[in-house]
Symmetry: C2
Subunit: 370 residues, 2 copies
């Protein structure tokens, strides 16, 4: 009595988890977190109109969601001034990344990303047999020129760029990215992850036509719109690439209430503006807390702030461990030298006060450990 | 300025939609359906406790769902008398099928299913380069012996069996399936889709150990539990196979409100029992409506009924087209001779009365067309 036969690729894959979730941490430590500041969730929350739309939709949850996410797609098209054919709605950016990688990357195909950038993208690339080539950050920013140059060297099919960047919160001007497209190698797609772009200064979103076949942009309702648990993201791109998602996506995979919630959230731009102001305020507070502890916060165009702990990764890890022990969930970059930082999500005063209260002891503990 | 380079597999795939959704039909016809009886949704709806849990969770939707669906998985394990390690929760059976196929099927690998069985499974197999071998139905039931024999002939890695069956509503006794496992070829996994099993007579669920490495079972909250739009399904199987899903699944892909809703639905078995009684009543009513029109309904162990229209597929299609024109959404089997039937989902009286009112004219129209 033997088990199933796996593909060679499946056999070669580790049972990797790109991130350990906060609930998993909580179960391991046997207590809930006092402040949930590690997953770049938006504690300021979604528009009450979105909450109401989801609650209403719960009563009709016996219906499958619309396989075409038609109403949401049309509203997004109007919002961005593009055609519905330029937009694919999917189960968060994570789900869309999986589909995109599946369409473009086979065994041995090259992909370029920054060392220490979004691990879930790398997870998908490895999951389809792709080969990841990394480029180091430069001054805590993704290095656009080096990324594109490396893409040419290795004949990459995808080059990944998050703008603004996660985990550092740094950013490029959109115009610089648009200008750099001239140096993007033929046959290499720029995957521009703009998950945090609503939080960024005017001009950060790249002024690239949705019909440009060289670029696909990813957006989400998980961050500024405060709906991470709903799983709604969308891709903006050339109609041919957008249509290709229909070859592999889970056509009835969207949660119906999430579709309704995202539509309501999009229609409440006043709420978004208010949340963005709160995020800006929280960034300043986090920087202040860092300064009060003799640390410096990096400038951020996102809903989180990277705090430079001033020493190496081991030191920052000790700070992080103590924070987590004290009930403050934060995360940190994976790669040196960015891993000298801890990454703290924006949140209301209560959460930031919990962080402020825990940080001095965490630094003390880390100094003691060193 | 060229577009991206797709994999050879992606280039070979059609932009296939396994099913056209009811909203798509409604947009095409420019009017909503009076009765939505085509997608085997459960119009009797979910437990009010599930609706309440989802509405409550909407306010916390800023949090990602638990990547391990821990609480739901533990409750399901207790419900089935198995270990949590035997259970993988995923984005509906459709999502789980995609992961399973990805783990087991590579280019050219053989898969066996019944001709006219669940097209979304075939979509996933084709999507990973698998080769589908089909076996005809026998007396409107899936032919267990022939499926397993065919699996041996073609060295299949997966043999798919839905019990009860969709689209015919027929079923095998669970004990027959368990006994037949002795004839399942080595290295071939039985994928037992039990999406409708709660609606079936006692003894239909196969008495197979969750630790049996030869079988994986799929269950869902979309049918009897009335939560199709939530996208919650689960797989029951050997811990090694269950763990393998962690290599490829979207770890944070579950909607947080859906997790809470499914847990509440599972805990309300009284509601489930009441809905199952309503489904049984609706099956009888559909059979009665068929008889009143000189047609015969097939016995059903599901939340839908196949009605034999008494002639060929073209005739049944004409009946279906007229029903749809009259605002009654139903579907029909894809393959002959099952496509002599139309497939009508169970529902409350209002919906079934709309169907009863439309059927005579549909039959008249079909006779006229013939």
């Amino acid at each position: 009595m033997t088990g199933p036969r796996y593909t060679p690729l499946a056999l070669s894959l580790p049972a990797a988890v790109p991130f350990v979730g906060p609930e998993t941490h909580e179960r391991e430590r046997g207590a809930p977190f006092a402040a949930r500041l590690g997953a770049n969730e938006n504690i300021f929350g979604p528009s009450p109109r979105a909450v109401e739309a989801m609650a209403q939709a719960a009563a009709e949850i016996w219906k499958y969601g619309d396989a075409q996410s038609h109403d949401l797609r049309l509203a997004l098209a109007a919002h961005h001034g593009v055609q519905p054919e330029n937009i694919m709605v999917g189960e968060g950016i994570d789900g869309l990344l999986g589909c995109l990688v599946r369409l473009l990357i086979g065994q041995g195909d090259a992909v370029v990303t920054s060392l220490g950038a979004y691990p879930t993208f790398n997870y998908h690339v490895a999951g389809f047999g792709g080969v990841i080539h990394t480029v180091p950050y430069k001054d805590d920013r993704e290095d656009l020129a080096a990324l594109f140059a490396r893409a040419a060297e290795v004949d990459a099919r995808i080059v990944y760029l998050a703008n603004p960047d996660n985990p550092m919160g740094s950013w490029h001007k959109g115009a610089e990215i648009a200008a750099a497209l001239d140096t993007l190698p033929e046959g290499c797609l720029l995957l521009l992850d703009e998950a945090y772009v609503e939080c960024a200064p005017e001009g950060t979103a790249a002024p690239v036509s949705a019909d440009d076949p060289r670029v696909i942009r990813m957006r989400t309702f998980s961050k500024a719109y405060g709906m991470a648990g709903a799983r709604v993201g969308y891709a903006l791109g050339h109609p041919e690439l957008i249509a290709a998602f229909n070859k592999v996506r889970n056509h009835f995979g969207m949660n119906r209430a999430a579709q309704a919630g995202a539509l309501a959230a999009l229609q409440d731009q006043d709420w978004l503006a208010q949340v963005l102001a709160q995020i800006e305020g929280a960034r300043a507070k986090i920087a202040e807390i860092a300064a009060q502890n003799g640390l410096s916060a990096l400038p951020s165009a996102t809903n989180f702030v990277a705090i430079d702990c001033g020493r190496d990764g081991a030191f920052a890890k000790a700070v992080l461990d103590s924070l987590v022990d004290q009930g403050v969930f934060v995360r940190m970059p994976f790669a040196a030298p960015q891993n000298r930082c801890i990454r703290v999500s924006c949140g209301p005063d209560a959460e930031l006060e919990a962080f402020a209260a825990a940080l001095p002891r965490a630094l003390e503990a880390a100094h003691g450990a060193g």
